[in-house]
């Protein structure tokens, strides 16, 4: 066995004034065996403890994030709870759900090389290894790019390349398929099949691309793993989702002849873009093609060198709500209630919390990543904008949660622009814009 987890129980420290020193267990008697070369898929709903499990396996919890942990974990015959993480670099590696937490170097190639440097690998070998890892992950052209200008999907590729360079015996991928484009997903699935190493993928929702890739399937529920089969796992959370109907509305935001330019050097030309109140539209395109850059220009955060929008920049900022890809950039107050009440405490905070399944008194910073996304959604529900841009809202969320969020935001007839790589989510839109090359046009 490459991994043996026995009776793992973990509770986070309770930072609220009420209750005991620890919260109810996130993981409660979890057992897992992974054989060498085995591919394991673990599906769990938002907040079920997937990221907690990955952090325990890689030594972040409880060393750096407080909590009470019992049980045993063995990776490659080493006791994870007693072995320093630097002695397990060749045994276990992680691609985290939130890429920004894991990227430490300013340049792409340096990020891939870092673990090789600490291992004392000779420079000529290191150069070859880094080059191979970048090529395998489609990042050769960005080897010298600053890591800060990469798109969400490119950051995932970079973390995959960093793992490839070290080639650990067990790879843990936390929602890694989520921000990858269609080609990236297919490539990753193919590589899981061909690489031969053991892999655990944790995901909130099944995707078609997982079919035929994994050997074992589990649901993470109530802090434990329940074994299942491929058909049941891939059918979970699925359904025949209809497209959202156009409810109509008076307002409209248009862009004509707009050119979006970004630090990374690319430009996106948008001959014509129409966004009407009441409709749901999608924007698709490969990783790094400029979807987020266009969204930033659309909501008035960035200037455009050419072209014009029908609304002035300042007006767009207060007319179009924009849910960033990473919720951490939009949450900054201690509790969920304070966060939702900013800036002037208007609106039905408790009602929105109830609809999103959030506890208003909980500490926003210690919520799980998907829960933080829901808090982010909650803030915009209360703003009641006529338009919303949702940048990869499906990341770390199930389809039902996504539909619930979209319905909640458009309950008063708002128009929704979904930026997505997921064909299922894109199919919910009435119209679709696609970035091909450097041009963004409506798909026919």
């Amino acid at each position: 066995m490459i991994l043996q987890v026995r009776n793992l129980v973990f509770s986070y420290r309770n930072y609220q004034k009420t209750g005991g020193p620890f919260l109810p267990p996130t993981l409660d008697g979890l057992n897992l065996d992974v054989r060498e070369g085995e591919h394991v898929l673990i599906l769990g709903e938002c907040g079920s403890g997937k990221t907690t499990l990955t952090r325990i396996l890689t030594g972040t919890v409880p060393k750096y994030i407080n909590g009470n942990l019992t049980g045993s974990i063995t990776v490659n015959t080493k006791n994870v709870l007693e072995t320093p993480p630097w002695e397990m670099t060749g045994d276990i590696g992680l691609v985290a759900q939130n890429s920004d937490e894991q990227i430490i170097c300013p340049v792409v190639a340096d990020e891939v090389a870092f673990a090789l440097q600490t291992a004392g690998i000779k420079r000529p070998v290191m150069l070859r290894t880094v080059e191979d890892a970048l090529r395998k992950n489609g990042l050769s052209a960005k080897a010298e790019a600053p890591t800060g200008v990469l798109s969400g999907g490119e950051k995932k590729r970079l973390l995959l390349a960093s793992l490839d360079a070290v080639n650990p015996a067990l790879r843990i991928l936390d929602e890694t398929f989520d921000e990858l484009d269609g080609q990236g997903k297919a490539d990753l699935a193919q590589r899981i099949l061909s690489d031969g190493g053991a892999i655990i993928l944790l995901a909130c929702r099944p995707q078609d691309v997982y079919r035929g890739v994994f050997d074992s399937f589990y649901f993470l529920k109530d802090g434990r793993l329940q074994k299942t089969d491929e058909e049941t796992a891939l059918a979970a959370g699925g359904g025949d989702w209809p497209a959202f109907e156009d409810t109509g509305g008076e307002q409209c935001v248009e862009a004509s002849g707009v050119t979006v330019v970004r630090d990374g050097g690319f430009r996106v030309i948008v001959p014509r873009f129409v966004f009407r109140q009441g409709e749901v539209i999608a924007l698709c395109g490969p990783n790094g093609s400029g979807k987020t850059s266009f969204a930033r220009a659309l909501v008035g955060l960035d200037d455009v060198p050419e072209g014009r929008f029908s609304l002035e920049k300042d007006r767009r900022t207060v007319t179009i709500g924009y849910l960033f890809q990473n919720p951490d950039y939009q949450l900054f107050l201690p509790t969920v209630r304070e966060e939702l009440s900013w800036p002037d405490g208007r609106g039905d905070v408790d009602g929105v919390c109830a609809q999103l399944g959030l506890d208003p008194s909980s500490v926003a910073a210690v919520l799980s990543y998907p829960e933080r996304k829901l808090v982010q959604v909650g803030t915009y529900c209360l703003l009641n904008r006529p338009f919303y841009v949702l940048d990869e809202v499906e990341g770390s969320l199930g389809y039902e949660d996504c539909r619930r969020i979209i319905s909640l935001l458009r309950r008063n007839g708002a128009g929704i622009l979904l930026i997505t790589h997921d064909p299922v989510v894109a199919s919910w839109a009435g119209r679709r814009y696609v970035i091909t090359g450097s041009v963004m046009e409506e798909a026919r």
Partner: protein, 249 residues
């Protein structure tokens, strides 16, 4: 010299050479020279910075230290009370010539150091800077600490910008220019965000092998230093001569 593009001379210069130049400049700035010497250096640096980074960036750099200069100017009447009067109000000596000279000297030194270090950072990519420091004997961990610190500052600044954007997106009316006090929630949020990242960064470093009992290697390498010796000597001799001329003069 076309320094305004990233292919300019300063961008291509060996980072070790640039660090040595900055050290020489720093030392020269604190030599007991006549004010004309540091003034000349300041003007020269301004021109170099203009050509390498552009006028806008150069002015922005100076503007960033302006508040400190203003505070220094406000406090200067208190510094040298005895001496020849430079500014008077009736019979009251507001500012002596000695205090004025002192203010001028300190301000010029401050601007020189700011311009010099800002030029070094602007024209040297981070990995080259770290390599240069390592070639001067800085250990792997210390250089990593410098690298993380250099990365942390722009990360906090980026977070500050994004949180500011997030605030703007949640307002009902377009935001006019904010009063100083209104920056505080954004700043506090950015710092909280940055501090929250510290344990995760520490954990990531350990997962990537930091802590191993192995001598770390370098991914990048600077070209042999001898290639930079001739320009280094030229700059060193030129700087020393300039200093001597001003000092003697």
């Amino acid at each position: 010299m076309n320094g305004s593009s990233k292919n300019g001379v300063l961008f291509r210069a060996d980072p070790r050479l640039k660090i040595i130049c900055v050290i020489i400049l720093t030392v020269m700035t604190f030599l007991p020279l006549r004010i004309a010497a540091p003034l000349g250096i300041m003007v020269l640096l301004f021109v170099v910075s203009w050509s390498a980074a552009g006028l806008k960036a150069t002015l922005r750099t100076i503007r960033s230290v302006l508040p400190v200069l203003i505070v220094m100017a406000l406090l200067s009447p208190l510094s040298e009370r005895d001496g020849e009067a430079a500014v008077t109000i009736g019979d009251f000596v507001l500012l002596t010539r000695q205090a004025l000279d002192g203010l001028l000297t300190i301000s010029v030194r401050f601007v020189i150091l700011t311009l010099a270090f800002s030029l070094l950072v602007r024209t040297t990519d981070q990995s080259s800077l770290i390599l240069a420091l390592r070639s001067f004997g800085l250990g792997f961990r210390a250089s990593l600490a410098v690298s993380l610190a250099l990365g942390w500052i722009p990360a906090v600044s980026e977070t500050f910008r994004r949180i500011g954007e997030s605030h703007a997106l949640r307002l009902d009316r377009p935001q006019s220019r904010r009063r100083p006090g209104q920056w505080i929630p954004t700043l506090v949020s950015a710092l909280v965000f940055a501090i929250r990242r510290i344990p995760l960064t520490a954990s990531v470093l350990e997962q990537r092998g930091l802590g191993r009992d192995v001598r770390p290697t370098d991914f990048r390498a600077l070209r042999p230093f001898c290639a930079s010796v001739i320009p280094l000597l030229a700059v060193g001799v030129g700087a020393a001569l300039t200093g001597i001329i001003f000092w003697a003069g």
